[in-house]
Symmetry: C2
Subunit: 276 residues, 2 copies
């Protein structure tokens, strides 16, 4: 594993690391914030999954999460959103290919086998993190923004017992019924929609829900809200009587200014469950 950078940050260290990924069959880069407490022993870990067009870097530099994670003594990991490199397929559209892995394991050409972001985030990266850093992998939580909110919700529900709590900023909540979803799930997984269901937070909520608390924030002025379909997830949450707080925030849009505005609430929400 190569250290790209390590910067002192809120008393801890914001690092960027690159490793050869057996899952994605390319080099992968991630950001990791370790609070000061990690010097004395393992700390809990909050995953932050990013949205379309992002790398590991966007949220690490723009979401303002380290301030609150440092206060709570929680580590943050910022994975990339897709495989990378010259040998990896891409598409001219911003919402397919590089920067748009959608947290699934592609089965279709030309995306398989590199586009295996589910396995990367669910299996390979946690194993690497647990072996390498002072992290208590028994205390994990997950959040994300937009496509990453979709990833957070689907991984949390798809891996029961893994995450104590899940939250999301403006998640793509019902991709099987959205142009942010149908296009990508079809490209990566093929046309058989039964393969899509494990990657739709609303369908997962209808099927099984989540064994823990959920927090979501979506801006009422989000320019993509019709693609996000928060109403579908809200309906499913309410039907299931799922423990959850679903917030519609007046006037906020889809930007990192929105994410940063509510980051403290999300980190403290997870801290309540990680530090208990």
């Amino acid at each position: 594993m190569d250290i790209q950078s390590e910067n002192r940050c809120f008393g801890g260290v914001q690092g960027v690391y690159t490793h050869a990924s057996a899952t994605c069959k390319c080099d992968m880069t991630f950001g990791l914030f370790l609070p000061e407490e990690a010097k004395d022993g393992p700390v809990p870990l909050l995953w932050y999954l990013s949205g379309l067009t992002c790398t590991h870097e966007n949220a690490m530099t723009k979401a303002g999460a380290q301030a609150w994670a440092a206060e709570e003594g929680i580590a943050l990991v910022f994975p990339d959103t897709s495989p990378r490199g010259a040998e990896v397929a891409d598409d001219e559209a911003y919402d397919l290919g590089k920067g748009a892995g959608f947290y699934v394991n592609a089965t279709q050409s030309p995306w398989a086998p590199h586009f295996s972001m589910w396995d990367y985030v669910a299996t390979e990266l946690p194993a690497l993190l647990g072996e390498t850093f002072a992290l208590d992998m028994e205390r994990q939580a997950i959040t994300g923004h937009s496509m990453g909110g979709h990833g957070a919700l689907t991984l949390a529900m798809g891996l029961p017992g893994r995450f104590r709590s899940v939250s999301a900023f403006a998640p793509i909540a019902n991709p099987t019924a959205s142009d942010w979803g149908r296009k990508q799930l079809s490209a990566y997984l093929g046309d058989d929609e039964t393969a899509w269901a494990p990657h739709d937070a609303t369908l997962l909520m209808e099927a099984n829900g989540f064994d823990g608390p959920i927090l979501t924030d979506t801006g009422t002025a989000d320019q993509f809200i019709d693609l996000l379909r928060p109403e579908a997830l809200a309906n499913a949450v309410a039907k299931r009587r799922q423990q959850a707080v679903l917030r519609l925030q007046p006037g906020y849009d889809h930007s990192y200014f929105f994410v940063a505005s509510f980051m403290e609430d999300h980190v403290r929400f997870h801290a309540d469950h990680l530090m208990a």
Copy 2:
């Protein structure tokens, strides 16, 4: 004035605006954060001047200042660091020309008349802000990073009575004795070093000091610390018995991770004097 964007942010609005600058003789863009309180009347204003290579955007997206400004009810303005546009001279080096205005009024070719960042920040932009937005221009403070820390300190000392308080992150503290300074002051102002003195925080401190409190932070692991010369300013501050808090922060470097780590302290420091 053109609105480039307005995003709801921490209950207020983060805007980006472009206007025709008579001073710089080109279009200039700045960021302005207005807290929620600005809806009810004028609020105090904290200037943030950015460093080499930056535009109005870097600190606006990476310094995390809005969180604290919103709590305190203070506006933030993020000016650009130089004139812009095809008609504006530039240099191949990152530290001269565009992105490197050094907050002076250039007198030398090819930099004059566009490179007039002192007058832009001292005169034109405050007039525009005061006319256009709900800002209490009787309550201003100033901060900045690196070259912007130089700008903040020199403007604060060069405009007595304008700013109630001044702070800086890793400021270029003694440019007349540094490669971050001699090259630029020579290019912009010519070889007569008497013209440089009003643009050196250490020399200004020796001459007159500042009629108010000063806060500076510099990382002990700052990779540019030999160019910043915090020791020269510290010496001058102590000699003058200037009211000041000069902090050397162990292990921090020159990055925005350093800036973000101490932003809360700086905003609260200014708030103590702006809200009094």
